[in-house]
């Protein structure tokens, strides 16, 4: 019995894992399945994999008015720009919160964190009206700024704790040696902060890439992103599993790779540093 228990535990864990990963595996398997087999029951498990679904999704005008590759490009532009914006304003803010002892700092930090509670479904209503009045609907900025705001609390929290882990004595010594504070930040702090910045950037990118509500509401064809296109995919042409899952796989694959790379930093970031 004593040897059996750990074995059973491992079996149970692997079974739970299989169940957990099943939807993802189903998506990938269906994406490489020949179209005529994808919806047959009983499900076909053995077949010759094909790339034709990916080819038709990425190059053909399989749905709506444009191919899925264009939507991925929109997603990429929005994701990169919002991540850069979040870092551009987030790094100084994190440094200020970590190293400058000014009055109101704690209140500011708490307020920054509290903005994560604002439901996007509520803020999207006024943003929609404002963007229409300013003729910003279906432009990149109308997604870039909100996405940066969505990931900023997390970016600032992650970077603030990274900065605090840099011994302050290093900074002091550099300033004693006559470096200005700005130069010191550039020469000493930023290089040490690179791993933290990379992790924060990847997290911010994941959030932006996956966002749905704002993209659904504020974009039409010019800036439409991949998640919105995926949803339209089924409502417009019924359900063709091969193409749907191929498009879904292309959308999810880069994020899954980043998730695997980040792993612990992902949980650390999403839990605002509660888990180190």
């Amino acid at each position: 019995m004593r040897k059996l228990a750990p074995l059973l535990l491992r079996l149970a864990l692997w079974a739970i894992l299989a169940l957990t990963l099943f939807p993802i595996v189903w998506m990938v398997v269906t994406a490489v399945k020949p179209a005529d087999m994808s919806q047959t029951l009983p499900p076909v498990w053995v077949f010759r994999p094909t790339m034709s679904n990916f080819v038709s999704v990425l190059t053909g005008k399989t749905y709506a008015s444009q191919n899925f590759g264009v939507l991925l490009l929109h997603s990429l532009i929005v994701t990169v720009a919002s991540t850069l914006l979040a870092l551009l304003v987030g790094v100084p803010a994190a440094y200020g919160l970590a190293r400058v002892r000014f009055r109101g700092r704690r209140a500011a930090a708490t307020w920054i964190l509290s903005t994560i509670m604002f439901p996007p479904a509520v803020s999207v209503v006024p943003i929609f009206i404002l963007s229409a009045r300013l003729s910003l609907t279906d432009t990149y900025p109308v997604l870039i700024v909100p996405y940066a705001a969505f990931s900023l609390p997390m970016v600032i929290w992650m970077l603030r704790s990274s900065i605090k882990q840099i011994p302050f004595e290093i900074e002091e010594a550099a300033m004693v040696d006559g470096l200005s504070q700005l130069a010191m930040v550039r020469v000493i702090v930023l290089p040490l902060l690179v791993p933290g910045i990379v992790a924060a950037a990847l997290l911010s990118a994941i959030l932006s890439w996956n966002e749905f509500l704002f993209a659904l509401t504020l974009t039409r064809s010019k800036v439409q992103t991949a998640p919105v296109g995926l949803n339209e995919f089924t409502s417009m042409y019924g359900t063709q599993w091969g193409q749907l899952t191929a498009a879904a796989t292309v959308t999810v694959a880069p994020i899954l790779v980043m998730t695997l790379v980040l792993r612990r930093r992902l949980v650390e970031g999403l839990s605002f540093g509660a888990v180190k």
């Binding site: 990963l21 939807p23 002892r101 009055r103 903005t115 604002f118 209503v125 900074e171 359900t239 998730t259």
Partner: protein, 316 residues
């Protein structure tokens, strides 16, 4: 580490002597100056929308013509007088309560299972994290196809393994539609909860456990009276973060059930979307939004109190 503000801010200043105002306030100016860009971005997405919500809530907003006019509290009367809104508010609360509590229970079970030294622990935790990266739209689409009553694999395998008689149209019946949206959220987020709790388990000191074992505590009372209290900060953080996100849920439910069948799975976030962006009744949506924010700020202040009491996440 006590760092005097004056030593950290401003730094070496060369050139002409700085104005006296700068000298006196340079710590505050440096701090707020560094924060300002981030605060502006966050203000655009929180305070600015709130101001407009309040304005719109007392107006009839005409998107196309010049028909925007002040209507007093009419919008609030309509929203609060609509029994559907109250039942959707109840649905939202139920959704959060069910999803988060199931995730905490399953997450704890998974964390306890993973908290053993095994050769494959690292591999397992790495793979368990994957649902976190799947866009909610994608996971909802996958669930929708798997639950399809005609082609879906769920019905097929449940039937062929003899677990179910007639095929079930999962999304066409309120109870099974609820099971589906809760399962979707549980699938997506249980691994995250498990990893937070696992970190907690690994940080629990061994001495109290050993002392309890010496005192003759069984595994169950050991868990209940020793481990669980020690993990309180981690449970609190998982609870609060998941509750915040669950209240904000839109994409998964919108894609999986669209709020149906009927309005049985309609959360307040879906109401906001429908009223504002499909019925174009911006005034009513704004009034609903303000009520939602009010209710939420009450719940959140309680949750933040939990967080402040049992963790140091809000500390410097």
């Amino acid at each position: 580490m006590a760092i005097p503000g004056a030593a950290t801010a401003g730094g070496a200043i060369t050139g002409p002597p700085p104005p006296r105002y700068w000298v006196r306030h340079r710590v505050a100016l440096t701090g707020w100056g560094l924060l300002a860009p981030a605060l502006i971005v966050l203000l655009i997405m929180s305070v600015v929308p709130t101001i407009y919500l309040v304005m719109f809530a007392f107006q009839h907003v005409d998107l196309l013509g010049p028909g925007t006019k002040f209507v007093g509290i009419q919008n609030f009367e309509r929203v609060l007088g609509d029994p559907e809104m109250w039942s959707d508010a109840g649905a939202t609360a139920l959704y959060v309560a069910l999803a988060v509590s199931i995730q905490l229970v399953f997450g704890m079970a998974l964390a306890l299972m993973l908290n053993r030294k095994m050769r494959e622990t690292n591999l397992l935790t790495a793979l368990f994290i994957l649902p976190l990266g799947v866009a909610p739209v994608v996971s909802a689409l996958i669930f929708r196809e798997l639950l399809n009553p005609v082609y879906g694999w769920v019905d097929f395998y449940l039937q062929s393994w003899g677990l179910m008689g007639d095929p079930v149209d999962w999304l066409a019946n309120p109870l099974t539609a609820w099971i589906s949206i809760i399962t979707l959220d549980v699938w997506q987020w249980t691994p995250f909860v498990a990893l937070i709790l696992l970190a907690g388990l690994q940080g629990v000191p061994q001495e109290p456990r050993e002392a309890a074992v010496v005192d003759g505590a069984g595994p169950l009372s050991l868990f209940w009276h020793v481990t669980l209290p020690l993990m309180r900060p981690f449970i609190a953080i998982a609870l609060v973060l998941r509750a915040i996100e669950a209240f904000k849920t839109f994409a998964g439910v919108y894609v999986l059930t669209g709020g149906g069948p009927g309005t049985s799975t309609t959360l307040l976030t879906l109401d906001m979307y429908r009223i504002a962006l499909q019925d174009f009744d911006v005034g009513a949506a704004s009034a609903l939004g303000i009520c939602f924010l009010f209710a939420l700020s009450f719940v959140m202040s309680r949750l933040l109190a939990v967080l402040a009491k049992s963790t140091d996440i809000l500390e410097d």
